[in-house]
Symmetry: C2
Subunit: 209 residues, 2 copies
């Protein structure tokens, strides 16, 4: 959230960058955000450069490779999600908090293909990303534990179930045809209903356990 950007491009007692260079750095970051969000992580640094209206060389001077740029771009994104999860911990109804968190986090994912790709695959294991990811899981674990304690969450559900659930909704978003669609919300609602405690589980259904 800080607007202090441009202070320590690497924290290595580096010279402060010429003014136009710093501006370009921001342009690249912004282009990276947009391009990765729209086209996913398979987008090229050349793509990003072009989108930023800069040459490829410029991008490669600021960020040694795609991983470095992605790290810079997505650490921020992931931290915001972590903050959302943290806020959810404060709510009284843990199930509702969990549901609300999922909806907010997935809302972000819906608009950001790169973020979705990053969520699932263990690609790009930078320090910042890993930390943010860990924070999110920890908060989810807390949320789930509390919901279980409140008796609102289906038997057997644990924190480890949250990632797969996100992955499932993610799959709906990735379905061809309905790119900008909002239909994922309906499927989330279905899953959430399946996750509630009381609606008798598989009463006589063929799928046991």
């Amino acid at each position: 959230m800080g607007k202090k950007a441009g202070q320590d491009p690497a924290a290595t007692g580096a010279r402060p960058l010429r003014r136009d260079a710093e501006l370009n750095r921001q342009r690249i970051l912004q282009a990276g955000r947009e391009v990765f969000a729209a086209r996913g992580l398979q987008a090229t640094l050349n793509d990003v450069a072009h989108h930023a209206g800069l040459g490829v060389g410029t991008v490669y001077r600021k960020f040694p490779d795609k991983q470095a740029l992605a790290e810079a771009v997505f650490t921020d994104e992931l931290n915001q999600i972590a903050a959302t999860a943290h806020d959810a911990l404060a709510e009284d109804d843990a199930f509702a908090a969990l549901a609300g968190f999922l909806e907010k986090a997935l809302e972000r994912a819906a608009r950001n293909r790169g973020l979705r790709e990053l969520m699932r695959h263990p690609t790009f294991e930078g320090a910042g990303l890993t930390r943010a990811r860990l924070e999110i899981t920890t908060h989810c674990e807390g949320l789930v534990a509390r919901a279980r304690a409140q008796g609102t969450l289906r038997d057997g559900v644990t924190g480890a179930d949250i990632a797969p659930i996100a992955a499932m909704i993610d799959a709906v978003m990735a379905l061809p045809g309905e790119r900008p669609s909002e239909s994922w919300r309906r499927y989330l609602a279905i899953i959430l209903d399946g996750l509630r405690a009381h609606p008798r589980h598989t009463p006589d259904g063929p799928v046991i356990r």
Copy 2:
């Protein structure tokens, strides 16, 4: 289910193939099944050839390209799923039939990465595949309609929801780490519970609609 294989490699009044050639054809088909199942559609015809213990040239003589082999391999697979769907139509409890069908179809998918990839992406639109796919959707539509009529299925669910649901479970299967796992069954159970008619929908949950 027919074991008549090796009759008309293309139905074009072609000569009947030398005996060893026909044997190799079967070998390639089998290798294709195994390789595509294990490594997905991105597997190379060179991979298949090696797996079959044959040269690349041999494979390319029998199947002009990967699409041709994939079509041959998966049409069969898809037809079997279609048959399962057809059988389900005969059951009394439509919801149970739908659940059973999903479980059986997804069981196949769990063991076959290529099949999963084929299900989602519009890659490889061969005639046989398209027909089988269509048959499956049609049967699903019937199943859903009947379940709705029986009042066992959640409001608003249509045949068009089945594919996304399959995609969601698929996503769980594709999750890193638990390749041969059976955990997808649990998530299917959760979704099915969410799909049942009565368990009061989103009673006070934050996700409306």
